[in-house]
């Protein structure tokens, strides 16, 4: 008697999508929409582009349903698609900074103050800090950036990140080590 390995819940849902169950696709969308969009947002730093790429990722999942095989975790497969889309977008220069980002505090920039409460200045300082964090992450090579975002913000395992980036676990650890060293060096004055 052959033991059947239990499939992860997402893989089971995707197999149902393969059989034509669109409600299962809606459940997968509900579970993974937010992390995919957030990952893509941090990759391209533009919400509209991130949502467009996320839509394309889910469309590709749906289009591939008939050939789906649960050879890897569903999340790994989904993030592989999303990562490839993001890397292409970064390569094609589709990432844009948000227009409303406040430049670093050292520059002279007229700022309209709509509220006289003390927390406006705190918000400006916070915005400046976040702007530096975003710039530091954006300055990373695209693959290092993707590895950091999956590791830090999506809390993915090394094996999942390796699957998404289509490389070995040791390569992922190397990417992360270099990326974090670079980020710590650049953001040391803020930490």
């Amino acid at each position: 008697m052959m033991a059947v390995a239990a499939l992860e819940p997402d893989a089971e849902l995707m197999l149902r999508v393969r059989e034509g169950d669109s409600a299962s696709f809606a459940i997968l969308l509900e579970r993974h929409r937010r992390p995919v969009i957030h990952f893509l947002y941090r990759m391209v730093q533009n919400q509209a582009v991130a949502e467009e790429l996320a839509q394309e990722a889910f469309l590709r999942v749906y289009r591939s349903r008939e050939n789906y095989q649960p050879s890897a975790k569903f999340t790994t497969w989904l993030f592989r698609i999303a990562t490839n889309l993001a890397l292409n977008a970064v390569r094609d220069g589709r990432s844009e900074k948000r227009q409303e980002v406040i430049e670093s505090a050292g520059q002279d920039r007229p700022v309209q103050v709509f509220d006289a409460r003390p927390n406006v200045e705190q918000r400006m300082v916070e915005d400046a800090r976040m702007s530096e964090v975003r710039s530091a992450i954006e300055s990373l090579p695209a693959k290092q950036r993707a590895a950091v975002l999956m590791h830090k913000y999506e809390e993915m395992e090394y094996s999942q990140i390796a699957g998404a980036l289509e490389c070995s676990e040791s390569a992922v650890k190397s990417l992360l080590f270099r990326a974090y060293e670079s980020l710590r060096s650049r953001l040391a004055h803020l930490a």
Partner: protein, 158 residues
């Protein structure tokens, strides 16, 4: 446990400790080491500050109409799927059909454009009698006239 500050291979363990990715046994080992190693404690503090700073970056919320736009695109794609299948069928058949269509078009053009062959028309009946017949008629009339003059009834009148 090997000191991460002295052994570069183990440096990632401090990051994993920060990210809470270690097993319970590994976490305990790191915590014990931090109690003894000031270098690693400093390094750990720097890691933690950096990790918390990174964590402050929040992503915007997803647009409320994201799902609707996605399902609209899915529907349009399925409609295009039908049209694409028909277009694909046409693409498969149009190339072999070209010679047949060209031949048919050429034949049709030939039929419509060429001049019709002259239809043989019988010669019209002329009202004029040809010369031979006219002379014969005249001769016949002269003969009849002569016979009339020579007949017994006609001579008595003389």
């Amino acid at each position: 446990m090997q000191c991460p500050s002295e052994h570069g291979d183990n440096a990632g363990i401090l990051l994993d400790f920060c990210a809470r990715r270690l097993s319970s046994a590994q976490t305990l080992a790191v915590e014990r080491h931090l109690l003894e190693c000031s270098r690693c404690r400093e390094s750990m503090d720097a890691h933690r500050s950096f990790w918390n700073l990174m964590g402050e970056w929040q992503a915007p919320e997803v647009s409320p109409d994201f799902d609707r736009r996605l399902f609209d695109r899915l529907e349009r794609q399925q409609d295009r799927g039908w049209r694409a299948r028909i277009a694909g069928w046409i693409r498969l058949t149009w190339k072999p059909a070209i010679p047949v269509l060209l031949t048919a078009a050429t034949a049709l053009t030939f039929i419509l454009v060429r001049e019709p062959a002259p239809v043989p028309v019988p010669a019209p009946q002329s009202a004029a009698v040809d010369g031979v017949d006219l002379n014969q008629v005249e001769q016949t009339l002269d003969d009849l006239n002569m016979l009339h003059q020579l007949s017994p009834t006609s001579s008595q009148s003389l």
